[in-house]
Amino acid sequence: MPRAPSPRRNGRKPRLAVFKLASCDGCQLTLLDCEDELLAIAGRVEVAYFPEASRAMRRGPYDIALVEGSVTTPHDAERILGIRKSAGILVSLGACATAGGIQALRNFADVGAYVSAVYATPEYVTTLAQSTPVAQHVRVDFELRGCPIAKDQLLELLTALLAGRRPALPTGSVCQECKRRGAVCVMVARGTPCLGPVTQAGCGALCPAFDRGCFGCFGPMESPNAASLGARWEALGVARADVARAFRTFNAGAPAFRAASEAYEREADR
C-alpha cells in the first residue's frame, strides 16, 4: 500500500486534485454529491485543482489526485504522465478510468469510420484507436469502480487515506451485497438475467433491490466466471448476441468482460 499523506504534513493540509480525461463528469459530480460531508472534506484537504467545481487551478505537486475518464487522445496520453508525476497517490475513478468506459466500444470497431461518419471535418479530429484505462498508462494506487462511482466508496477511500489506514473496498460479487441487504434474487425468483454474480460489489446491489438485473457497472469481480453465467442466461432464454451485448457496456474494455463478449459474439455468428 502506498504511503498515505499524513493529515498535516509540515503543518499543511494534504492537497487534493481532480482531473478529467474522456468522461461524462458523473464520477467527479459524486464528490459534489457528498453534500453533508463536503465541509468536512474541505476542512481536511486543500482543494488545489478542481476545474469542474471551483476556481482552484493551482499547480502540483498534489498529495491525492483523483482521475476520471479514459485515455482516448494523444494529448491525454501525454497529460496522464504529467498527472502521475505530480501526484503522491493516484486514484482512478469509475468505469472510464478503470476500464475504458462506454467509449471503449470503439475498441471493437474501426474508429476512423466513426469519425468520418460523425464529424463534418474529420481531419480536425485527433483520436486514438482505443479507449484505455489509466492503469494502462501509469501506475495507479487505488481504483474506484462504477458508472458512476459510489459516494460511500469515495468517502471511505478519502477517509482511509487521510487516516492512513487501508480502505474497505470489497472485490467480491454484487450477490454478496444483495444477500446482505435481504433482497430477493431476481434471477432465481423471476428469471430476470442478472450480471451480479460476475460483477464487483460496491453499489449495494442497487438494481436487484429495485427488481432489475445488475447491468455490471462496477465491472468484473475478483474471479468472474462469465462462461457459467452466460450459460445460465441462455437457459433463461437470452440469445447469444444479447449475452454478448450485456458484457459490452460501461466495462466493455475490462479484460474479463471483453473476453466474454467476444466469445459470445463468435458463438452468435455460428
Binding site: A40, G43, T159, A168, Q176, V184, V188, A189, V198, S228
Partner: protein, 381 residues
Amino acid sequence: MTTGSTGGDGLLLEVAGLEALLAALRRHGYGLVGPRVRDGAVVYDTLGSVADLPAGWTDEQEAGRYRLVRRNDAALFGFGLGPHSWKRFLFPPSTVLWHARRADGGFEVVAETPPAAPLALVGVRPCELAALAVQDRVLLGGPWADPDYRARREALFVVAVHCTRPGATCFCASLGTGPRAPSGFDLALTEIPRPDGPAFLLETGTAAGEALAAEVPCRPASDAERREAESAVAAAAGAMGRALDPQAARGALGTAWESPRWEAVARRCLACGNCTLVCPTCFCSTVEDTSDLAGETAARTRRWDTCFGVGFSYVHGGSVRTSVAARYRQWITHKLATWHEQFGTCGCVGCGRCITWCPAGIDITEEARAVAGRSAGRGAS
C-alpha cells in the same frame, strides 16, 4: 372454546386463536418477525398480524429456480423456505462491535447498546431449529461466547411450525432434522388445512410457551385432529425432493482432496457466495475498521463473509485458496465432513436453500454423491 387449557400436547387453535397468540406475544414485549410475501418470495420480516402471513401462497423450487404460486386454499404456512433465514435476526448481516472516540491523548471505547426489544420468531421450521442449535454450538459453545448473539438468543421466543409441505430442494428427512421438530421451541404448530381457513394443532415446549398458550383461546384437540396433523407431517417426510446420506458424504469428503469433481463444479460455480449467505448455519464473518472524516471516531463492524471470496483465505502474502475448485471443496467439505470434528455435528440441516438460491443451480446433494462416486440419483448436470 375454553381459554387457558394447558392439557399437554394437543390443543386446537383456530386462526382467531393464532391472532390472539400474536397479540399476546406483543403484549409481553416481543417484536414479531415471520414469513411474508415480498418481491416475489416468502421472506422473514416484521409481522403486524395474521393478515401479514402468506395466506394461500406456496412455491415451486428447483436448483437455481424459485417461483411463488397460488394454493387452492388459504393455508398460512403452506409454502417451502424462502431465501431468508433467521440468522438475519440473530447474527445480522452487519453488526457494529464497538465504537471508539478520541479522548485526550488516546481514545475511549464506547460500548454498543444491546439489541432492543426481544424477538418472537413465528413460523420456524424444524430444519431451522436444527440450524439454530448448530449456531448455538458455534457461537456460544467453547470458551468464547459471542455476546451479541447471546443477548439476541436469550431474548428469543420461538413459535415453530412442523412441515407439512416440503420443497423440492428439501432433504431434512435424510439428515434427521425434520419434518417434525422434537424440541427447541416454546410453542409449535401443525397446520391442518380446511376449506374455510386452516386450524392448528398447538404443542407447548417450554414453561414460557405453556404460560402463553394459557392466554389464548383454544380447546383440546380431538384424536382425529391429532391424527390428521401427525399424518400430514409423516407424509411430508416421504415427499422430500432431495436426499443426502450424511455418513457416506462425511466419509467420502474426508478423503476426496483430489477428486476430479472439483474442477467440474468449478466450471459452473460463480464463486458468488449466495450459497453461504442463504445458509442458516454458515457463520463466517469478517471485521471492517472504519473512521470518520474528521478522524474523531472509529468503529469495528462485523459483516457476513463467504468462503467463496478470494480474501477469505488471505494470510500474509496472499490467499490460500485461489482456485474456485479449492473454495467449493472447502465449503462442502466443511459443511458435511470437518464440521463434525470441529463442532460435533453436521454443518448442514438439509434446508435446500443453497440449491434453490445458487444462480448456477449447483446442488450440494448431487455434488456430495458425485464425489462419493455414486451415480447421481436425480438431476444430472
